[in-house]
Symmetry: C2
């Protein structure tokens, strides 16, 4: 059996009972070095295969090989493994096998959901997720989705918003979004959610300091009704109060 386990963001507190149970049952745990570090003390003395960043395919192939040899294997992913994570890659590789192995995806709390809770309640009306990484989706498609989401006033969660290799993607995205949403639309930044240094920042599209945003940040852009009060980012559901 191969489990693909979403650990939730940060440390144990946001992990599900089912996820920890899988880690305990597994004989071997496979994951990106940073995530392995987060869970190492939870799982005790267990075989661990950790690999560096951008080695997703190798990591998944390794996990599959181990599962084929009859081991109980857990591949771990931060947040939810099914949101831009390892789950799809594992399933895509497994269906190519002559004798498919059994795979079970264990859901986790994804960054947008945990970030929203940190900031208040920004996701109370329709919202979408867009990754600004164009490593695997053409930038033109990302732009098309930004136009669509902003024009219909979705709350927008941006994943992979800015990295050294893509320093200008966030600014380009906000330019598109501002064609539809006003400059004073509320923006929430949730950084390092679930870790000791977690930080929520509330600002607006026009006042956003892009240098505060890195790969550990999820960017939540409100709809036209989103407001800030008492330090909380709130998108009204529409109740008459």
């Amino acid at each position: 059996m191969l489990y693909v386990v979403g650990l939730g963001p940060g440390e144990k507190e946001k992990m599900s009972f089912e996820a920890l149970e899988c880690l305990k049952q597994a004989e071997i745990i496979v994951g990106y070095t940073t995530y392995i570090r987060l869970i190492k003390e939870l799982v005790g003395d267990k075989e661990i295969v950790s690999t560096g960043m951008k080695q997703e395919i190798d990591r998944c192939k390794k996990a599959i090989e181990l599962a084929q040899s009859g081991k109980e294997v857990a591949v771990v992913s931060s947040g939810d493994a099914g949101v831009y994570g390892m789950a799809g890659l594992i399933l895509e590789l497994v269906i190519k096998l002559e004798e498919p192995i059994e795979v079970k995806v264990i859901p986790g709390i994804t960054a947008s959901i945990a970030g929203a809770a940190l900031l208040g309640a920004p996701l109370m009306n329709d919202f979408c997720h867009i990754s600004l990484s164009d490593l695997m989706t053409p930038w033109e498609m990302i732009e098309k989705r930004l136009h669509a989401a902003a024009s219909a006033d979705f709350v927008i969660c941006l994943y992979n918003p800015r990295s050294k290799g893509r320093p200008k993607h966030l600014v380009k995205a906000l330019e598109i979004i501002q064609q539809y949403k006003s400059g004073d639309t509320i923006v929430g930044l949730a950084k390092d959610v679930g870790r000791k240094k977690e930080l929520g920042i509330l600002t607006t599209i026009q006042d956003l300091d892009e240098t505060l945003v890195d790969m550990t940040t999820v960017v939540l852009i409100g709809n036209k009704e989103t407001y800030v009060s008492n330090g909380q980012m709130i998108t009204p559901r529409g109740y008459q109060l």
Copy 2:
């Protein structure tokens, strides 16, 4: 202190450690009758205030009053309290108080994420959430969002897809979506996720039997690359394999 706690879908397995910790710390737990039933055995002998459906405002006001009296109170919500849930309503009510009380939102696994894990990995590329309930969002706005999301080929998660009071909303939504997505686009239904009777169903837009869909169902509509293999709904991330 007032905690707004997302329980995750279904039973204890998909709850976070932090959520259970809050339930244990709380002196009083407030929630919709069905959710209270799910957690009753976890929290032991504790004061419980349960209210029926559609009494959200009363329930939240009651929880706030109890917290104002100095009690530690947890309001519980299925899935994540910040996704069309109680978190926003609580915060909106609290900011109207002369002396605001402290509120902490505890995130949970929302239905789309858990449903996706049950079905495979349909959320590996950009996706959005649209509620088909027009109790608080005008239907014209919902239609606008359906057009936008389908035209930019988002994976679409439909919440509140069909109820006795809204038997035709799903069909109307699929008609709009079919203006952009072909009839053979994969649709996954995730019903009663996390409960004993949970059920995943894979079909297409044109073959969907709408009578299978009820308020415990989340409907996931793929993008143009989504496919089914080995009983799994997979949206490719874009890796060259």
